[in-house]
């Protein structure tokens, strides 16, 4: 078997070369021939085009995107995490051998001037999707932590009315005019208001950063412009972080498509600076504004109408439903519909509105708390970055900042979102059943003194936190015990090991 391989790791001084050595040793032992391109700090000796053309199979051992992977179009490709290649190089070569066998032919693919770029086999796509999402998430986490903690501290300093003091509105019968301009915040709302505003601005960057760096993961720096712009539009059309993920993937895919188009040499120099940003931003922007935006706002309107028609129904069922919505997108449009519904009820006066407010606040606190608890109970199921996010999530959850759960949900939405929805539904239902009530629209544990039936309210939060935690551990464990064709180990699974 003739193999070409690329090894690549984040820093480029250690794993890249260890993986190269391990693969070379394993190939020697198995009687295969191999050429390895180390994309590391000690310079890069590119694989000769003839070597690629003659190769039967390609091994990519990389934790970051492989540079110029389009060279390998048409070849069977085995993709593994770089540490998999170090720890079990022989198994990686076996995987390559079976991949080669199943691809039908050991004959080298005919060489062409512009090799067709075929997407890697379906088995590798899930792994790469997770890598892209994790790239976006890892850049987003510091924004969540900085913004969330600033907002929490602003509540501690200035009390639950800080949001109204900055933005204007009615709280506890007091009318706040709000700051007339950003420079007037300190005079109208004090230092707490200033911190609240800074935190809010940090939060406003979550979705653009997430989208921008998902696209960066897919298409390198060319993806950044359409990704960030798509993310900003996702915020603008109230598509939340789910919209941001769509925008990021869309941007990355668009840039990849553009780069496939052969261009004359005269304009190829302009491609990265002018042509690609211009075209990709236009395509992503138009799609986000005209195609993605309308369905989302339509769904928003439908949900609002439906909710308003439902408010007379069984209170416990309403609490559960609002809990599901609070956790569904963690600060996104569905969450905001439920929250706005509760605040509107609060403004209309009466204890009924206060009960809904208490249920919504409790349910919104559960997702970060449940995930923080899960990172403590089962450390091994989470990446290092996620465990760090878990430490911040305690404070974010306690402060009713549901966004603290986003890093977890963005990395593994199909397991995390249903789990926290279950936890929040339990909490919402219990809070209604206990008739807990809140006159405060925000503030989490810091306004507990204002709440009616607050010990039971805390009990409701604790119950939902345990349920959410149990679900997320169960679902994540299920994945890990599912037998997967060895040894394609994803970035996340290695990081979790």
């Amino acid at each position: 078997m003739r193999i070409v391989a690329v090894t690549s790791c984040p820093t480029g001084i250690a794993h890249t070369y260890m993986a190269a050595e391990a693969l070379e040793e394993a190939a020697r032992a198995a009687g295969d021939t191999i050429e390895v391109e180390t994309q590391g700090a000690a310079g890069m000796t590119k694989l000769a085009p003839e070597a690629i053309a003659a190769a039967d199979v390609v091994v990519l051992a990389a934790d970051v995107e492989v540079r110029e992977r389009e060279r390998f179009g048409g070849k069977p490709i085995v993709e593994v995490a770089v540490s998999t290649a170090i720890n079990s190089a022989a198994a990686v070569l076996e995987e390559a051998r079976s991949k080669l066998a199943s691809s039908g032919s050991a004959e080298p693919a005919p060489k062409s001037a512009t090799p067709p770029v075929t997407p890697v086999a379906a088995a590798g796509f899930g792994t790469r999707l997770r890598q892209w999402l994790m790239t976006g998430v890892s850049y987003m986490i510091p924004f969540v932590a900085a913004g969330g903690i600033l907002i929490a501290v602003s509540f501690i300093i200035a009390g639950p009315q800080v949001a109204m003091a900055v933005n204007g509105g009615v709280f506890h019968g007091v009318h706040y005019a709000g700051a007339s301009s950003i420079t007037a915040i300190y005079h109208t709302a004090g230092i707490g208001g200033v911190l609240f505003e800074i935190g809010g601005i940090a939060f406003s960057m979550l979705v653009p950063i997430l989208a921008g760096f998902i696209a960066y993961g897919m298409a390198d720096r060319q993806g950044l412009v359409p990704g960030v712009i798509g993310g900003l539009i996702a915020v603008d059309v109230h598509a939340g972080f789910l919209g941001g993920i769509i925008a990021g993937l869309l941007a990355g895919a668009t840039v990849r498509l553009i780069l496939k188009v052969p261009v004359p040499r005269v304009i190829s120099g302009m491609m990265p600076i002018v042509v690609v940003p211009l075209i990709s931003a236009t395509v992503v922007g138009v799609l986000m504004l005209l195609v993605i935006g309308n369905p989302v706002s339509f769904v928003m309107t439908e949900i609002t109408n439906w909710l308003n028609g439902l408010s007379g129904a069984n209170a416990i069922g309403l609490g559960a439903l609002l809990g599901l919505m609070m956790a569904f997108d963690m600060g996104g449009p569905v969450n905001k519909v439920a929250y706005t519904f509760a605040v509107a009820g609060l403004a209309s006066g009466g204890i009924g509105g206060q009960k809904v407010m208490a249920a919504v606040m409790a349910a919104g606190m559960v997702p970060p708390l449940a995930l923080a608890l899960a990172t403590v109970v089962r450390r091994g199921l989470f990446s290092d970055a996620e465990r760090k996010a878990g430490e911040a999530a305690w404070l974010l959850g306690a402060s009713f900042i549901t966004e603290g759960a986003i890093p977890f949900a963005a990395a593994d939405p199909l397991r995390v979102i249903p789990s926290i929805m279950a936890g929040s539904a339990v909490t919402g239902a219990l809070s209604m059943a206990f008739s807990a009530s809140s006159p405060a629209p925000h503030g989490g544990i810091w306004v507990v003194g204002l709440l009616g039936h607050w010990p039971l309210w805390i009990l409701a939060i604790a119950a939902g936190t345990l349920v959410g935690c149990a679900f997320v551990i169960a679902l994540k464990s299920l994945r890990r015990s599912t037998p997967t064709p060895v040894p394609v180990v994803s970035l996340l699974e290695v990081a979790n090991a």
């Binding site: 250690a14 794993h15 190269a20």
Partner: protein, 149 residues
Amino acid sequence: MPELIDESMVVLDLQARDKDSAVHVLAERLALAGRVTDIEQFLADVRAREQVMPTGLEGGIGIPHARSSAVTAPSLAFGRSHIRVDFGAGDGPADLIFLIAAPAEGGAEHMTILASLARRLVHGSFLESLRSLASPTEVAELINREVGG
């Protein structure tokens, strides 16, 4: 360019119980030897790398590392731990810890010595020697010889 490692950068009875303190002890050796100018900066860079993905590898190895503006020359601090320190490898904590320091700037020729070190790390016989040698001087000599040759 100085040699990759000397005996002052070898700790054969590392007492640290977690990876942060293990890295700290080894980084101090690098600072004392003049290889690291700003230890806080260097530690922050190592932590940042560690957060991307743990650097533990199967077979009891931890390779915390960073490219850092605080590093003057490609250097290695080596620690041997009977307590064993968790670096996030799938098969448990590490007893051999290699703290690899690379300067942020400098051309490829600076990095080849580290590439050569990394390639040695996958050879079981090299690791077994490091487990058995009795003195820091012997360890430093072995590493410099293997990496140079």
